[in-house]
Amino acid sequence: MSILIDADTTFIVQGITGREAVNLTRECLDYGAGAKVVGGVTPGRKGREVHGVPVFDTVDQAVAHHGRPIVGSVVTVPPAFTKDAVFEAIENGIKLVVIVTERIPRRDVAQMVELAALRGARIIGPNCLGIMVPDVVKMGGIGGPARDAAKAYSPGPIGV
């Protein structure tokens, strides 16, 4: 049962070259039908690859490369830079932002939430391990590696 995401949901990982992001990217690609991770963003690291996912300097480069709007982003950028990354995502048309980072100052969170509301985007988080549709797709580190996630989550009729 899909509410926010499904097997076709395209998303990027912001901060993709960080340790946690490298892990969760692998997990998302492995889980269920295999997530459509269409790009990653780490400023200065354009041209690299993380588990086959191309890395860009900016969100707009990732969108241009994809050729059409990208639906979501998983943000694993440190707290001092998270607001900037989320603003960048929202202002480049991303509608579903999953923020993994914790300990972001309150004012920054309030600004992200208000901008998202203005632009019709949705924020899940911050301090969030991600969202998942059991056996289909996940965005974020939720559940861990595919085989552990399979033990913890099974499909059902209620979105939690």
Partner: protein
């Protein structure tokens, strides 16, 4: 983190809000000098982080510099709610025509800051809001644009303030809102904001709290005020038990055994993770249990950390049993936590089966964990038993013993 009144007054003054003439004194002599400069009757106010100064006798009046020194000496030695003052504020006693309230707080539901203004200042604003809601003006403001003066004007006008009081109070409330945003405050209050006989407004008291997470990016103002990085500035100092908890957590970087908070019940809690701990703590209380503590274990703590925390809790006076419970975890090894808490019992000369009221941690390596618990006869349950039910069983076990 909390600021002392003398610091809050500095912050408010730097933002362009008029304050009554005052000075900060650490000794009776310094108080005398300030009173001489002010050259008028003064109020000597204890500088502590806790409230209830007036009631405790920490606010005194002095008509002369000599009296100021005498009163300062008294207040400097007066303990209030367990706090000794860092100094005293020597404040000029102004002729107040009317007391107002101006404040800015966060609305956690709307996720926007809100300006508050009342013409019933000098008393608890929450009380005023309840008994005279029409005398408290409120106005939320956007996080994305700088506060414009008219937004403050609307709030003040909404309770019927007009004339020069309106035009004078407007920039004050607007500047308070801007400083709230600029300095990542969670609370910024001026109570009372005094209107003098000639119609001028002056801040006679100020209270500011800054968000802890923002301290890193507010270094300029913190350094200017002389606030050290090591100062926690909490309204309540950490207890020895809590400090010991921090030490257990700091002993290595494997996982977390944190946020140890002291209570006074008989059921020790070794619980996790963050959300799980909150849920479990509430569940224990909902079933009539009396927690001895709160804590958050998580990540993947080492055996020695789990053991250290369990020992700390077990040794707390009044603790009869511990409950070891978490939400379902994918990144905490059940067997390691089991090993740690059993080790703690054994090292203290206790029977684990008797001391551990319940063990409920489903997740990674749980089969190995259950084997260890079975070996020592510890009552455990798996994920088929909810957190609420596990908490109920723990409380039943301990109250059965008490009865």
């Amino acid at each position: 983190m909390r600021f002392f009144e003398y610091e809050s007054r500095q912050i408010v003054k730097a933002a362009g809000i008029p304050v009554s003439a005052h000075g900060f004194a650490r000794t009776p002599e310094e108080a005398r000098k300030i009173a001489e400069e002010i050259n008028a009757p003064v109020v000597i106010k204890s500088q502590v982080l806790t409230g209830g100064r007036m009631k405790a006798g920490g606010v005194r009046f002095a008509d002369t510099p000599d009296e100021a020194a005498k009163e300062a000496e008294f207040v400097l030695g007066l303990e209030i709610n367990g706090h000794m003052p860092r100094g005293v504020l020597v404040d000029s006693k102004v002729n107040v025509k009317q007391e107002f309230y101006a404040g800015v707080v966060w609305d956690g539901i709307r996720k926007q800051p809100v300006m508050l203004f009342s013409d019933m200042g000098g008393i608890d604003i929450e009380e005023v809001a309840e008994t005279h809601p029409d005398r408290v003006g409120r106005g939320h403001f956007s996080n994305l644009t700088e506060v414009s003066d008219y937004e403050a004007k609307q709030v003040i006008a909404s309770i019927g303030v007009t004339g020069s009081a309106l035009t004078r109070a407007t920039p004050i409330l607007a500047r308070l809102a801007r400083l709230f945003v600029r300095h990542d405050m969670t609370l910024a209050e001026i109570n009372p904001l005094a209107m003098l006989d000639d119609g001028r407004f002056v801040a006679v008291d100020a209270h500011m709290d800054m968000e802890n997470e923002a301290r890193g990016r507010q270094q300029t103002i913190l350094k200017a005020l002389g606030v050290g990085d090591e100062e926690t500035r909490q309204a309540r100092e950490a207890t020895p038990f809590e400090l010991a908890g921090e030490e257990v957590d700091a002993q290595d970087h494997r996982g977390v055994a944190g946020n140890v908070t002291e209570f006074d019940g008989n059921l020790g809690l070794v619980i996790g993770a963050g959300g799980g701990s909150l849920t479990l703590f509430d569940a224990v209380r909902a079933h009539g249990g009396k927690p001895a503590n709160y804590c958050e274990i998580g990540g993947n703590p080492s055996v020695s950390k789990a053991c250290g925390l369990a020992k700390l809790v077990l040794q707390k006076p009044g603790v009869e049993k511990i409950a070891v419970m978490m939400s379902i975890v994918s990144n905490t090894r059940v067997d390691i936590v089991a090993r740690g808490v059993i080790k703690a019992c054994l090292e203290l000369g206790h029977d684990p089966a008797e001391k551990i009221a319940i063990f409920r941690i489903p997740g990674a390596w749980e089969d190995e964990g259950f084997k260890i618990l079975e070996k020592y006869g510890v009552e455990y349950c798996d994920r088929s038993v909810s957190m609420h039910e596990a908490a109920r069983r723990a409380v039943e076990k301990i109250q059965g013993v008490a009865a």
